[in-house]
């Protein structure tokens, strides 16, 4: 098991995210970021579990900012 930090691909506002403990498969939506009224999903790169969430709903995030840590 290794930790994988998920970063934002683009700047925007955090709308929602999967809860700690959620089991995810590769490609599942982990976080939704809103940018220019569009909801952009951040997908999981691999199968794993949500370990830590580093942001809160409505946070404005920058491109490259760490959003959550997965255990994969």
């Amino acid at each position: 098991m290794a930790d994988k930090t998920i970063t934002a691909e683009l700047a925007g506002r955090v709308i929602s995210f999967s809860e700690i403990g959620t089991q995810v498969s590769a490609g599942d939506d982990l976080i939704l970021i809103e940018s220019m009224k569009m909801e952009i999903p951040v997908a999981s790169p691999a199968k794993g579990k949500v370990k830590t969430i580093l942001v809160q709903i409505d946070d404005m995030v920058d491109e490259g900012q760490s959003l959550m840590v997965l255990e994969i």
């Binding site: 940018s35 220019m36 009224k37 569009m38 909801e39 952009i40």
Partner: protein, 520 residues
């Protein structure tokens, strides 16, 4: 029959040819390879069809015979020739970095200057490999020899470079450190790539920058791939030199030989009647959700024919080439992932360039529209977005190549003019929504007093948004004959393939140089 007098001379021809191939010598060539870079002769050999190179001025250089009769010959440090790519002629050229770091010696300078003239004369594409910083302060004679400054009757070096751009396709690659004059020339191309780890492009190198600005930065920090991938200086960063050759060859495959010809039609092995059923629900019902516009494009054009250019610059706009029923076309599509596909300053510059490229070489343009409008906000204003936008709109408005617009989702406001010049053929999908402003922004603006005064402002806003969304429905446009047709997404390919046949004769009537000259 052997003649003794001429035998000496023909032997010397062979000797000089052999010496010229040594370039800067074994040690210099090995140093080049150790740095992960090929020599100019290797590059030329790999980009061209096998054995197709016919070198021009192969024994230009300077020779000296010693007292014991040995010939020492320093070739020009610039290689120039005509060869074939995919069976079509082209000029190929570049600096020989193994000699004097590519800073031109006298013969090298002459061949370098002549390169564009050759392409103009034979009206064939030009491929340039750039490595080096151009002229040294010591001039082309080196540190010991003073060369005369240029005469008043000599033509500007940039004149032929500029004229090439309105005549033949020009593709360049930065395959080492490129600065000074070579950097300007590199940028003066229709398609430019740089290698990811072995090239840098700089107006001035670290020594000049430190002297002038007191700032100490490495070549990589100043002008490496991570800088220029997003700066717009190059179209694409490629992984290595082999990838550069592939990219150049791919680019040229969509181009004609010159502005007086059309791109040859390719294979017709993808049926024009192929329906793309996956398009039926590729656009999410939820208007806020994104989808993959590249999948839309790839499902419609001939299999595997989509060649994107400039992906990392102005990423909200997708530009590239593709084929429909074997005919080459330009593709311009919105990417909803980046700022909802909004037209940014960078995107507008990329678009303007792309439209001018298609116009120059007579490629019809197909645009897949999901356009929310020009980018807004403080950064957008600082970038003078609407000025670059106006430039793009003007290019589009005055383009004479045929345009086909497929309204995939949004088509809003002023930025619509970036997709639909006069006479554009317009097909709408059921998911199309069009108007002056996106519903949310438009309602928030026009009805802000009514919403604030309502008992339940959120409900009032939603009610108004629904009302205006209905007005933006594609059926209203179909009824008003505002679109040529409202179609099932799966019908798109066959419609586009019908259209591409229809436009060919008119294209042939437009051949010749553009009214402006292409400006990168």
């Amino acid at each position: 029959m052997r003649s003794t007098a001429w035998q000496d001379k023909t032997d010397e021809i062979d000797e000089r040819r052999k010496l010229a191939l040594r370039q800067g010598g074994e040690i210099a060539v090995r140093k080049q390879h150790d740095k992960g870079r090929l020599t100019i002769r290797e590059r030329i050999e790999r980009v061209l069809d096998t054995d197709s190179l016919r070198e021009v001025g192969p024994i230009a250089g300077s020779g000296e015979r010693a007292e014991d009769g040995t010939l020492s010959f320093t070739p020009a440090n610039f290689v120039l020739g005509i060869g074939k790519i995919a069976g079509r002629h082209c000029v190929v050229a570049g600096e020989d970095f193994t000699m004097g770091a590519g800073s031109p010696n006298a013969a090298g300078l002459r061949k370098s200057i002549y390169t564009e003239d050759l392409a103009l004369q034979y009206r064939i594409p030009l491929v340039r490999f750039h490595e080096g910083s151009g002229a040294s302060i010591t001039g082309s004679g080196g540190k010991k020899v003073q060369t005369l400054p240029g005469a008043v009757y000599e033509r500007s070096r940039f004149e032929s470079i500029a004229r090439c751009l309105g005549t033949v396709p020009v593709a360049s690659a930065a395959v080492g450190a490129v600065a000074g004059f070579p950097a300007g020339r590199l940028a003066a191309s229709h398609y430019t790539v740089m290698t990811r780890t072995t090239s840098q492009i700089l107006t001035g190198g670290p020594a000049l920058v430190e002297r002038a600005l007191g700032v100490k930065l490495t070549k990589e920090e100043l002008g490496g791939a991570q800088v220029h991938e997003k700066s717009g200086l190059v179209d694409d960063v490629v992984e290595d030199e082999n990838a550069a050759f592939d990219a150049i060859k791919k680019f040229l495959s969509y181009m004609p030989q010159n502005v007086w010809e059309l791109t040859p039609r390719g294979a017709k092995d993808d049926p024009v009647t192929r329906e793309a059923p996956e398009l039926a629900d590729i656009i999410p019902a939820n208007r806020k959700r994104i989808y993959n516009m590249r999948h839309v494009v790839e499902a419609i054009v001939d299999h595997g024919s989509f060649f994107e250019m400039g992906r990392k610059y102005g990423p909200g706009q997708i530009t590239g080439f593709a084929r429909l029923s074997g005919y080459a076309v330009g593709i311009f599509a919105s990417d909803p992932k980046h700022n909802a596909g909004s037209l940014t300053a960078a995107g507008a510059q990329k678009l303007r360039r792309f439209v001018d490229l298609c116009q120059t070489f007579h490629l019809p343009i197909v645009t897949f529209v999901d356009e929310p409008g020009f980018m807004i906000g403080p950064d957008a204003e600082r970038d003078a977005t609407i000025r670059h936008g106006a430039s793009a709109l003007i290019s589009v408005a005055l383009s004479t190549v045929p345009w086909m617009a497929v309204l995939v989702r949004k088509s809003m406001g002023l930025a619509n003019y970036a997709h639909m010049p006069s006479g554009c053929h317009v097909l709408a999908w059921p998911s199309a929504e069009s108007g002056a402003l996106p519903v949310e922004g438009g309602v928030a603006l026009a009805f802000r007093h009514e919403i604030a005064a309502a008992a339940d402002p959120a409900a009032k806003r939603l009610e108004l948004e629904d009302q205006f969304a209905a007005l933006q429905s594609p059926f209203r446009k179909a009824e008003a004959f505002s679109v040529h047709d409202l179609i099932h997404p799966r019908e798109t390919r066959s419609r586009l393939c019908d259209w591409i046949e229809l436009v060919q004769p008119g294209l042939a009537h437009q051949l010749g140089p553009p009214q402006f000259s292409f400006r990168p």
